[in-house]
Subunit: 201 residues, 2 copies
């Protein structure tokens, strides 16, 4: 949209929305038109919700989750098992595990993975505070739920080495065939893991 | 994301963003995490831009475009040819034509198409004001740039009938093979139109 079509205010809104993951310039324009059509039901509440998020959302100083309270809802939840700590790369991963609803544990968000190429070292992640939490005595098991990528696994090994002296049990997610996965589309590493850890039918 | 994962404020932002076209619940969550990571560069300016849009964007009382001024930038542009009026269904169509940069004309946004099934009659569109603009004397040609859908074409016929007494020339967009289009994938109507209106090579 050239600036002469509409005012700079609309153009600015389009450009900002286009920076969201999943939206490009074209879908951002459609979103803006939708927002303006639904001014009272959507544009106004969304502007408010963003303002509230901007002002009130903080990172949890314990686990790194984001919430409007610190410690976050999960860390304050007394029904959560404090003896299991699930280490994830990002808040998105934490949410994914929570959506699955499989765990009643607490979390530790690393904030990324070690990546020498991108200049991400241990001091850029929340590894020091993880070791601290492990040493505090309450935690019995640390589940390294990092992505099965090279960087993710490197980071897991690095953390496992650091955790060894604490005596806390360190586990990781199982490799195998994803549910619904077709063997034909899986890589050899996954197939090897699935075969090696095969279970009795 | 269950409410217990994060506060209701985050959940509300996710739900509102998920209502934008092109975003679903999952991409809305990713967008929210992105927004919170880029709080100063993106979340805050976006909240502001939405507030500005909410407060300042109005529909042009002349053509139906949206802008922060009424009449809109296009209607106020003295360099635009006032003798050609391009009739479009929506502001999105107006923007699409402007992006193509082919026209130096003015527009008239209908606000939709006639659709008896959806209860959209002539009084729900800006047809009356279009006739008024046609009668005012400045307009020599009205291009019916509506979609090539059944409802679009029905609306075009309806408008053309109403415009006939004004003596203004009424035209419509050509049908044919889209640039880059493959014949194999085109419907018979398009092929027939492309054949019928074939031009000398």
């Amino acid at each position: 949209m050239a600036e002469r079509v509409a005012g700079p205010e609309i153009e600015r809104l389009v450009q900002l929305l286009a920076r969201l993951p999943g939206l490009g310039p074209r879908s951002a324009r459609r979103a803006v038109l939708h927002l303006i059509r639904k001014r009272e039901e959507l544009l106004s509440p969304l502007a408010d919700a963003m303002r509230v998020a901007q002002e009130r959302i903080v990172a949890c100083s314990v686990c790194g989750n984001i919430d409007t309270s610190d410690p976050c809802t999960i860390c304050r939840d007394a029904r959560r098992d404090p003896s299991i700590l699930v280490v994830v790369e990002t808040v998105a991963d934490l949410w994914a595990l929570e959506r699955a609803g499989l765990l009643n544990a607490r979390y530790h968000v690393l904030g990324g993975v070690l990546s020498p190429l991108d200049g991400v070292g241990p001091e850029d992640l929340t590894i020091a505070s993880l070791i601290e939490r492990a040493r505090a005595g309450e935690v019995r098991e640390i589940v390294l739920a990092v992505n099965a990528t090279v960087d993710g696994q490197t980071t897991a090994h690095y953390i496992a080495d650091l955790l060894a002296p604490t005596g806390v049990k360190v586990t990781r997610l199982a490799h195998g065939v994803p549910v619904g996965g077709e063997l034909d589309y899986l890589d050899e590493g996954t197939l090897a893991a699935a075969l090696e850890r095969r279970t009795v039918f």
